[in-house]
Amino acid sequence: MKLKSLTSALAVLALSAGAVAAAEDSELIINGDIEIVTRTKAPAHMENIDEIRSGWTFRSEETQALQMDDFDNPGMIFVDQARETWDQVDGSEGKSCASCHGTPEEGMAGVRAVYPKWNEAAGELRTLEMQINDCRENRMGAEKWGWNAGPMVNMTALISVQSRGMPVNVAIDGPVQEIWEKGKEIYYTRFGQLDLSCANCHEQNYDNLIRADHLSQGQINGFPAYRLKNAKLNSIHNRFKGCVRDTRAETFKEGSPEFIALELYVASRGNGLSVEGPSVRN
C-alpha cells in the first residue's frame, strides 16, 4: 500500500516535470504486478544527491522492457537453476537449503533488502554471499562456493527475487558504523592512473555519456545483474572490480574487506529503492 502510493506520487511528479526522455519516465512494474520504486528521495545520510535512481532508469527502452516480464528477463533462467540447487542435498550433514529454510518464498522474503547485515554471533558484517557460504560450511558441511561461481551468483538471484518490490533498507549504525565510514571513504577515493573515484562518475556525472555509456548512479539494488554484454548474472563485487579496473588501478578482490565495506556503503545509498534483482543491464 505504502509502496503503491509512493510510486503514483512519483509518477505525478515525473509528469509535471515535463519533457524528460521517454525511457527515463517510464515505470517499472514487473509481470504487471510487482511495482518497483526506481526513483525516490535520497536517504538522509546522502549529502550531494537529492533523488536516487535505479540503474534501470538509465537504460534504453529495449533493455528496460526485458525487465518488465520474467519471461523476457534472461536472468530468470538462472533463478530457475538456483531453485533446483535449493532443494539439493549437499555435504556431510545430508541437508539442502530447504531443510532449514523451507521454500525460498517462505524462508527468504525480505532477506536481500537488509544485506549486508551484521551477524551478532559471528561479530562480523556479512554480505549475502558470506551468509550463503556460512550455511554451506557450518550447517550443511558442504564446500564453499566461489564469489563469482555460477551456483553462488544464481542463488543470490533466487534470494533477491523473494524481496522484489521491497525497499532496500540496510542498517548503517551501531556495530557497522565504522565499516560504513570506511566504505564511504573508499567511494570518494580516487584510484588508478586515471585518478577517478566512484563519486567522480556516479555522483558528479550520472546522466552524462562517457563514450557510449550512459552513466547511472551506480546503485546495486538490481543485483545480481544480467548483462547483455556477457550473457550471465554478475555479482556486486564483480561490478566493483570492473569499475576499479577501468580507472587503470590495481583492483581489490571479491570478498575483500574493502569491497565488503564498499558494498555496505553503496547499498545504503540505495535505501528506499526497491530490490530489483535480477536486473537486466547492458
Binding site: 584510484f191 588508478g192 592512473q193 577517478l196 552524462n208 563514450r211 557510449a212 577501468d246 588501478a249 590495481e250
Partner: protein, 161 residues
Amino acid sequence: MKRAILSAACLFAGASLVSAAEVAPLDVKFDDYGAVEQSLTGVAGDPANGRKVMGTKSLGNCVSCHAISEMAEDVPFHGEVGPVLDGVADRWNEAELRGIVANSKKTFEGTVMPAYYQTTGYNRPGDAYTGKAAKSDPMPPLLSAQQIEDVVAYLMTLKEE
C-alpha cells in the same frame, strides 16, 4: 622524415629512455595557472596524429568525455563529461592547452580529467586495464611527450572565430 625516425626510436627504446630534447614528466614546468610554455619535445606537433590520439580508445580517448563536432563523422560516441572542445583554441593559448593535457589538475583543481603526462603519485596504480598492480613506479605516462605535442597541435586548429 626526421619525426618518423624519432618516434620509431621512442617506440623501441621505451619510456625510460628519453631523447635529449625531451622534457621528462617530473621536469615539466607549470606556471601558477597551470600553463606549460616549453614544448615537451622541441619537435612541432603533428595535428593529424593528435586528432588520431584523441579519437582512439587505446590512446588518448579524449572523446570519451569531450565532444568535437569536426570529428563526429568518423569517430562515433562522444561523451558529455567534459566541455565540448569546438573553438577551444579561442579560449586557451598553446601553453595553456599543453598544461591542460599534461596535467589538467594544475589548471582545474579537482577535475575529473586525467593527467596525461604524469608518472607517479597515484592510489593503487594498475598495469593499464588488467586490474593488476603497475609494474613500476614511476610508471609510463598515458601519452608520450610527442603525442602530447601532437594533441596540442590539433587542439590549436579548433578555432571558431
